[in-house]
């Protein structure tokens, strides 16, 4: 029995070693061969979670490409930014969504959740840095092992089939729904708000990753802007505005912040309290395109200019 057990343990260890070696080698090969393609005319790119994903319809914004993806944390955005910028020298400007919910600790927990790891690791597992893996290991070691297992397999299959174009790297999502009025009504009737319990503390790792993205873009001589896309005034996350502004000013004071939070959008142009639907996206994207064409990014005080343009838009809508 002893011999049997020793042999089994030795065999299992040898198998594990080979799996790790092949998995890491496959990940390295995929990381070096991966193709992150932007359109040749693209100068502006935006990254972020579902808010910009549904707000920036790149069909109406010249030389612009939306790479946002729902629920995508900055940790996984970083390899995407790196690869896109390396492989597409035509990209000049990087917009990164930075909004009220993204400063909260919930994102740190979400990054380490098994569900999200299983979703993102197959896409970006090959590109993660040791510090990212360590952070995931600290939070959810079993989840990480499971996600790495999936990631190794996916990288191996990519290598095996020589399919290197990166998939599911984001894009504009045409949100059809129009639930805002009914949502507001039910929230009023129930007296509930949407805030999650235990989510009042500040995120550490998520914000750190945003800093790494900004640093990378600057080192690559790209212009970087933080962007806040339009949100409904009743969205519960807006209650942390003072904390949000504090974080922004303390942590990202050297970055321009383009705030479109108060862009005039009616309830029927929101899908829900945090997302624009396709009507809202059209209205906002056409307006944003005009701002870019008017040279927003070269102006001295961008915030004042945006405020002025929003007020103009507001008054135009009121007079109509």
């Amino acid at each position: 029995m002893k011999i049997f057990l020793v042999k089994v343990v030795f065999f299992a260890s040898a198998s594990l070693f080979l799996i790790l070696t092949i998995g890491i080698a496959a990940s390295k090969i995929v990381a070096s061969q991966a193709i992150f393609a932007a359109r040749s005319e693209t100068k502006y790119v935006i990254f972020g979670h579902s808010h910009p994903e549904v707000a920036f319809n790149d069909a109406y914004i010249s030389n612009f490409q939306n790479f946002s993806k729902s629920s995508e944390p900055y940790m996984y955005i970083l390899p995407k930014v790196k690869n896109l910028i390396h492989q597409n020298p035509n990209i000049e400007v990087v917009f990164i969504e930075f909004t009220n919910d993204q400063i909260m600790e919930g994102w740190d927990r979400r990054i380490g959740s098994s569900r999200l790891m299983n979703e993102w690791m197959p896409l970006y597992g090959a590109f993660l840095e040791a510090s990212d893996l360590f952070f995931l290991f600290r939070g959810n070691p079993i989840g990480l092992v499971e996600a790495l297992t999936i990631s190794f397999r996916i990288q191996f299959k990519k290598m095996w089939s020589r399919k290197y174009p990166a998939e599911n790297i984001g894009g504009y999502f045409n949100l059809e729904r129009d639930n805002t009025d009914s949502l507001l009504q039910s929230l009023t009737e129930s007296g509930h708000d949407e805030i999650e319990s235990g989510d009042e503390r500040l995120s550490e790792y998520h914000i750190q990753c945003l800093k790494r993205i900004a640093a990378f873009c600057r080192n690559s001589r790209k212009k970087v802007f933080l962007v806040r896309s339009p949100q409904h005034p009743s969205w519960i996350r807006r209650k942390n505005e003072s904390l949000f502004q504090q974080v922004r000013k303390e942590t990202f004071r050297d970055l321009d912040f383009l705030d479109f939070n108060d862009f005039p959008i009616s309830n029927s142009e929101f899908g829900d309290l945090r997302h624009l639907n396709h009507r809202g996206a059209y209205k906002f994207s056409v307006w944003f395109n005009q701002l870019l064409e008017d040279g927003l990014l070269d102006r001295g005080n961008k915030s004042d200019y945006i405020e002025k343009k929003i007020r103009e838009m507001d008054s135009t809508l009121s007079s109509n």
């Binding site: 029995m1 049997f4 089994v8 080979l18 499971e146 089939s161």
Partner: protein, 479 residues
Amino acid sequence: MLFHTLDFAVFLPTVFLLYWFATQGDRKTQNVLLVCASYIFYGWWDWRFLSLMLLSTLVDYSVARALSSQKGIIIRKGLLGTSILVNLGVLGLFKYHGFFIGEFSQGFSFMGQEIKAGSLNIILPLGISFYTLQTLGYSIDVYRRKVEPASDFVAFSAFVAFFPQLVAGPIERANNLLPQFYGERRFDNGKAVDGLRQMLWGLFKKVVIADNCAPYVNMIFANPSEYSGSTLVMGAVLFAVQIYCDFSGYSDIAIGTSRLFGFELKRNFAFPYFSRDIAEFWRRWHISLSTWFRDYLYIPLGGSRTGRLTTLRNTLLIFIVSGVWHGANWTFVAWGLLHALFFLPLVLLNKNRVHLGIVGEGRWFPTLSDLVKIGVTFALTVMAWIFFRAESINHALSYFSGIFSVSLFSFPDFIPKTVILFSVFFLAIEWLGRGQQYAIEILTINSGRPIRWGVYLGLVLTIFFFYPSNPQEFIYFQF
């Protein structure tokens, strides 16, 4: 709990270590542990259905005990009838009630009468068709005085619930498995290594071949009208490969797992796709089921001893029952009938026991004649598998009409290269190992350690890296 999941990867070593170390070799403690482990294994899926297994165990244990003390033929028949009624009643309720209600109401609506038949929406308990036949076989054997009734309830419970073969067989006979629960078990290094090897091969078949065939098969069978005839043929062939690797893979894992605990289960597959006629195929495919039907249905009905016509009737009946056993759907009946259609001419011509040995024994390649026979037999089984895999008879017929079109002679719409590569490799190993209990034995038994370990590591790595993104349940779990 599925064999190819992380749950089982934790469960098996735990039970193994407890079994050999914590029980200190005490047979009774080992049996208690096996019963507990088996109930956990089964309850992992749905603990509520443990009660059905317990009911079946209690009824057959009690019936057999009573049979041993009764001499009167009427009482003995009554007792056996009770076992049959309970086992088949439970099976009928859970497996066939929906089918009969549906057919009943459809029959009435056809005659112009609308009746609203309610359905109980009962889900099919896992493995019920397998352990029901196993316990029923035990009661019949005790009735026939071929087996002594179990006096040890724990040993009998372990016989019914033994987790390696609980949900999809092999369907064991009391005279083979039950005595193994009575005897002392000593760890045998050779058996355990052999068990692990067979498990590894079973996992390879299931994970690398069957589960990687599944997406293509599902896609092609979901919309046969969208594919060319040649693609439909490829889909049917891939299903033949899938179902064989899925089910024989399960059997390999079950037999291998049992060996780790010192048990020997019956062989369930013997390289059926190298059969030279349908009769040989049925001696090599799902052996534990076909021999069960032979011993408990075909022979009691008279078998082949009471004239040609009775033989034909009995053979036809066995194939229909075998089809119905797989599920409550006309497609399974059609599958059984089609096999009967292929089989009966051999019976009529007295040629159903021509090919009893190993094909091409002692040769590297089959003779041309054998190759043609193997090809024809495989083509016939593939045709029958189309009915087996189809959702309905109409679905199967539309699949066939798609095959027999001009596009049959075109190039398939796509070629799943990796799956084909693995299938060819698998076929080659199966051919080389056709004289063994399971194919991989040939590559390992007489080879040096480097080759053996190389083969094992190669299999482990292939299983790991080609593990599908959507692992499939074993196909036979639904039966």
